[in-house]
């Protein structure tokens, strides 16, 4: 259970960073909604797990938070990507691509060996 949880936390962080890159500064609820939409509701994520993940990213300096006004003038905490976050996003995205392409070659039916 535990290693899966770590992987899950890692991917969640990556999704958050990517979302913030694409959409700019966003509040917690908005990030949660967007992740749900983008992943096609396959990851029925408990929205509550997002907040500790956001905090971790903030503690590590990849995102920064600021209180601001939402669309309907509600006071909300907005998160935005920092420069370090951008670099980390690029790095992790590249790692994921490499991992998936290697696995892809393993897992696709052996076309070379036919």
């Amino acid at each position: 259970m535990s290693p899966k949880k770590d992987v899950w936390q890692g991917t969640l962080a990556l999704m958050v960073l990517k979302t913030l890159e694409g959409l700019g500064p966003l509040h917690g609820y908005g990030i949660a909604r967007r992740i749900e939409q983008t992943s096609g509701a396959q990851l029925v994520v408990n929205y509550g797990t997002l907040y500790p993940a956001l905090l971790k990213l903030e503690q590590e300096g990849y995102i920064a938070s600021e209180w601001g006004q939402s669309d309907n003038n509600r006071k909300a905490k907005f998160y935005k990507l920092t420069r370090a976050g951008r670099k980390q996003l690029a790095k992790e995205a590249k790692e994921w691509e490499q991992t998936t392409s290697i696995l892809d070659r393993f897992l696709s039916p052996g076309e070379e060996h036919s």
Partner: protein, 886 residues
Amino acid sequence: MRTLRGWLTRITGLFRKDRRDRDLDAEMQTHLALHIEDNLRAGMSPQQARREALMKLGGLEQTKQLYRHRRGLPMLEVFFQDLAFALRTLRKNPGFTIIAILTLALGIGANTAIFSLVNGVLLRPLPFAYPDRLVAATTYYPKGPFVVMRDRSRSMEFAANSDATELNLTSIDTPVRLSGSSVSANWFSVLGSRPEFGRIFRDGEDQPGKDTVVILSHSLWQHRFAADSNIVGRSIQLEGENRLVVGVMPPEFRFPSPKTELWVPLRLDPRDIGDYWGSSYMPIIARLRPGATIEQARQELAALRPQILAAYAWRMPDDSFIKSSVIPMHEALVGDVRAKLIILLGAVGLLLLIACANVANLLLARATIREKEIALRTALGAGRWRIVRQLITESLLLAVLGAALGLSVAFYGLSALKATLPADTPRLADVAVDARVLIFAALLAVFTGLLFGAMPAIGASRVDLTKALKTGGEKSAASRTHGLSRGLIVGEVAIAAVLVIGAGLLVKSLWNLSNTNPGFHKDYILTARITPNESFCAEQGRCQSFYRDLLERVRALPGVKEAAAVNGLPLSGAWETIPADIEAYTIAPGAHVPMLMERIVTPDYLRIMQIPLLQGRSFTEADAAPSSQRVALLSKSTVERYWPGQDPIGKHFKPRWLKEWWTVVGVVGDVREDNLTRNVPDWIDGEMYTPFGPHSIAGRGPEAAPAEMTLLLRTSDDDHLGLGAELQSVVAELHRDVPVSQVATLSGWISEVVAGPRSTASIFSLFAALALALGAVGIYGVISYSVAQRTREIGIRMALGARRQEVLLLILRQSAVLAFAGIALGLISALFLTRLMATLLYGVGASDPATYFGVAVLLAAVALAATYLPARRATRVDPVVALRHD
């Protein structure tokens, strides 16, 4: 790197929790509000919208909790919570807290004080450069062998120092006797010590003619020379000779002894055969050269031995110095006191165990009171481990508070220890509470807290909820912990028994030592050291007439019945050794040459000291005349050794390096010269007495008597105080420049000799007394508590007709069982443990039955006394009240 930043940020998350919690609340509220709006827009009813939003969040409280865990350091926060709770609990029970803290302060403080001693004397490295490269020889050597070793050793750089050299400082108003050391020219550089000002001795300064230099100690420079900044380059007059001051050592350099006030070079003069090869035996130190090991050094010393023997001015037996080896210098310095300090450390450790047992018992008693509280917390969801952690935090807090108070106990205790231990204990002056000692105290506090806290905590946390939450639940806890409590008491009593037995054996030893017959009579004798310059006696007969006049005038003083002089008092550690050839005694091949110690005395000495004359005659004034025959007296064991069964009167012996023979004219009783348990040291074979005059052997030069003597006065009564000053003036009248020093009564000297065993016995006895007191308090506590628990039962018994007597006996029997079990266990343990202190005992076996029996009786009495009050309280129980008590 990022994770580090993450951790550091989490530490800041420990602070300003209120504000952060408010922020978190606000963020959560906004999240829910936004979600609910969306839901409403999607068509749900308000209740549905809210419920769906909460479910999708995954629970508000859980989310907040997860967030908080990520924000701070949960483990640390829980610990602080436990700590705050523990502090509150302790404050609410001041009585318990105070007793526990005082008990722990005593135990931890005493241990810290003794550990400071062990650290300062045994553990700390010597204050020299690369001290683990310094070694020392296990036997003393005279100057000649030292020079051979110095010149030829490849693995070591040898240096030597005299044990103590005493010199007169003249050229100031009152001549003063200073304690110093003669050292080889390379001695300071072998140690690697640097002077505060000036320089150390150079090579070659220990040759005659080049050795008129001196180095001062820091305290001498301050006290006698007023910290004169121009002291280097000035001359001072020592023993009538001018010496140039070339350096001053720093204040922390106190070697070879704290009493050393100055250093002069050794005089290495091969022409003075007696001194060079025969009589000045010195301790030898060395520094291992780079790359050499101590094993190589040992082998080399063995290889040098035949070369040393070959260099001797006369033939030495083949096995001379054969037992000599090389040991680390640290070992040589502190080896003697190591056993004693370790034993004290063991004893104080046992005391701490008793303190822990007492505090554990206190905790056990409290645990039953708190059972309801613990049951409640368990019912509310606290895991068992959480409760145990909480209780252990309390114990640790107690231990830390006890240790903090214990530090002041340690400071005072250490000063008291330093004052009690004999002043010649090596390195004693530098013992202090330093960083290592503080770390030890901290670790000891943690260890102690866990020791006395663990079991009560684990026991208390095991709670049967239903029983505990009902009324009358105290009984269940009480019965559970009762067994543990009793076990602790038995253990305490056993340990106390061991300590009291140890103390008893030491005290008995001390008594035996103090009352051994030293071979002479010590009462009513005043002694003083008279030390004219050595050059004084160069002129023939001058010393003799000086002392003759002195003795005459001193006899005329009021209160003085008799007076005499001797070259050194028994047990003073000062003696001359003469390698001798003994008539009609052939040295067995390979055996060592007979070494005799020489006491140079005036005729009245033997009578004043009441040393019995067993055969022949004693000395008279005539024996001191230059024209008389060379005569000597030998001690009984000496004649028995070399002329067994023969008449010693008229036999002869001579010093190896001289041609003349001495004649034995009398035999006297043995005297304890070395220490109270031994006549002469291992490496000396006998004792001789020679008359003060031209025919004494170890005088300076072949025809001169020694210059420095100890004066003895037998007085008619105890009033000695005035005589010291009168003695000074008598001497000053005779000669201006002669210092009088070490004025003391002979019995005072003798009691100095037992200072070591006396200090051990008193410190150990203190621990034993404390152990007894703590044990008594422990028994009192446990029995009181038990009586309180059994109030109902006692009430029932009395209601059913039991008399006060029976109740009393009931309680006493309960205590008696514990006490006897403890005493029995203690006596058996003592049989094994006291064997470890056998080296400290004299005249007493480690299983001395009288002591064991006495201690058993004492402990039984103490246990009885401690039980008496609670037992009496039990008899006062009013059955009516008791039966209502629940």
